[in-house]
Point group: C2
Chain length 282, copies 2
């Protein structure tokens, strides 16, 4: 049985066919362009395969409220051509098989849960620290969702006393996305993260914010595993800095047997998104 | 069919028998004393009724991790006689019917979800602001739980600039329980909340903290309904103050059609706990 999966990112689309064991059999990737053209490119790939279902993990924000008229539409994205694009309806029109839609980060979480570093646990939180910050939770094998997908990137944190930056989020002065995303780093220092590798203060402040957000997610959701992915986490020293600050914030209130096992990197070499998209079809 | 429910509070026990429609047919309440004696008093009540199942919503912290050897035990409570008390095992030994255990606030949430103000919604968060602060989420009819029950009272918030209080939580300088519980109010002002009714600053600070916590719960969990209960919320003016500050913090990032419908008081006249305990058996 072949299943199709798409990681529909703001920068690139990854399309794959795989089986229910998480084995990718064919894969293609291309830049995200205009919506209809991009979907046509995906279709050309899947036309070569006999898939029985299609799963899509998409960039957002996207309307995932099943009671909504605009269910499955891309919402208010800075990518103007995609704004209000009826993504799910377009896929449903293009394919004769069932289509399952969720966010990119929820799909990545499900990928790691089914096939990666969080196999065997009951609950897993996946946080992506890239252009923005987003997170998804899989609990007992299912993606968690309230009235819509979660917006964990907009949780509020305490400002670092040496950080005068007013935040990069247009809505909130001190949400984690506004203070710790790749975009926030770039705006604060007028340099990209990769150019700031040797500036220790940058990563101290970054870890300070991420540890706070993780502390808050942890007490609310109590996941067994917390995966940190995304471009900014390529700075691998962040993992140990975040773990240490997280344990200081938690301050023994809840037991954590081994923080190195709790807070980890993704394990699927950038295939977690597309594997999770495939897993959405189960 | 009769079902038994117990709201096992730190101060008092409420025992009730009801039917599956949420109708309470008999009820009794008595102070919480030594563990064995208190359970015996509950047993004497239920011996008069022919119940088919027993649900218990208990004070905490309690071990609800099903993989744990101490599953169902009370954990490190200040009530020393109850510390490490194997609550669930004792109930199971006392009764020949199935016993279901959860936290008091999760039970209250389920009570309101099934029979109260959040009937008909898919997800509901119940926050209790009393001696401590706790919260529970019901999603699609089920109590949400990670590796253990959530500890939402220990989410971190930003200090109010006019609040020099160092917090009442022994672990965290700025968690919501440490800054906004009834205990925190008492410690900060050396007076009980009820004696501070006319001091506007008290309630401005209280609303400031609670609005922050709610903002964070909201972006993470996206509940359709947020119920605020507990002794401190008897100060009814808090509801409108919290709603206003919450909307300012959210700052239009997510759409809220009517905040007066989103953030509400409990509706079951202090029976939500025992009704929820009964509903745990479903
Ligand atoms: N090695 C690196 N070190 C620090 N920051 C990085 C690194 N690589 C990428 N980034 C930052 O991560 C962000 C992009 O994140 P990424 O996860 O790759 O993309 P996206 O979030 O758009 O899917 C950019 O802000 C970029 O500057
Ligand atoms: N009318 C009131 N106004 C303000 N605070 C109150 C009021 N009634 C009770 N409280 C406070 O609420 C706390 C007790 O909360 P409650 O929910 O009644 O009990 P518990 O949390 O122990 O179950 C105490 O700190 C008390 O001072
Ligand atoms: Zn924000
Ligand atoms: Zn605390």
């Amino acid at each position: 049985m072949l299943i199709g999966g798409i990681e529909a990112g703001g920068t690139k689309f990854v399309c794959a066919v795989g089986d229910e064991n998480g084995k990718v059999l064919d894969k293609v990737s291309f830049p995200t362009g205009d919506p209809d053209a991009t979907l046509a490119e995906a279709k050309a790939f899947f036309d070569q395969h006999d898939i029985t279902a299609l799963g899509v993990g998409t960039f957002g924000p996207v309307d995932l409220n099943r009671h909504s008229d605009t269910y499955g539409n891309i919402l208010n994205t800075p990518k103007t051509k995609w704004r209000n694009y009826p993504l799910l309806k377009k896929f449903q029109a293009d394919y004769s098989v069932p289509v399952y839609l969720d966010t990119d980060v929820n799909a990545a979480c499900l990928g790691e849960y089914n096939y990666g570093v969080s196999r065997g646990v009951d609950s897993c939180l996946y946080i992506t620290v890239g252009t923005g910050i987003g997170a998804g939770l899989v609990q007992d094998g299912k993606v968690f969702q309230g009235r819509n997908h979660s917006e964990m990137g907009h949780i509020l944190v305490q400002k670092h006393e040496e950080d005068p930056f007013e935040g990069a989020c247009p809505s909130h002065g001190s949400c984690i996305e506004g203070l710790a995303s790749g975009t926030a780093i770039e705006k604060r220092y007028s340099k990209k993260g990769i150019e700031l590798v040797d500036n220790e203060k940058v990563w101290e402040i970054e870890a300070y914010y991420l540890a706070q957000a993780i502390m808050n997610y942890f007490v609310v959701l109590q996941p067994e595993k917390i995966i940190l992915g995304g471009g900014v986490m390529k700075q691998e020293k962040l993992y140990s800095m975040i773990r240490q600050q997280f344990m200081e914030l938690l301050n023994g209130y809840l037991q954590v047997e081994n923080v190195n096992e709790l807070i980890v990197a993704p394990s699927l070499e950038d295939e977690q998104g597309v594997l999770g998209a495939i897993a959405l079809c189960e």
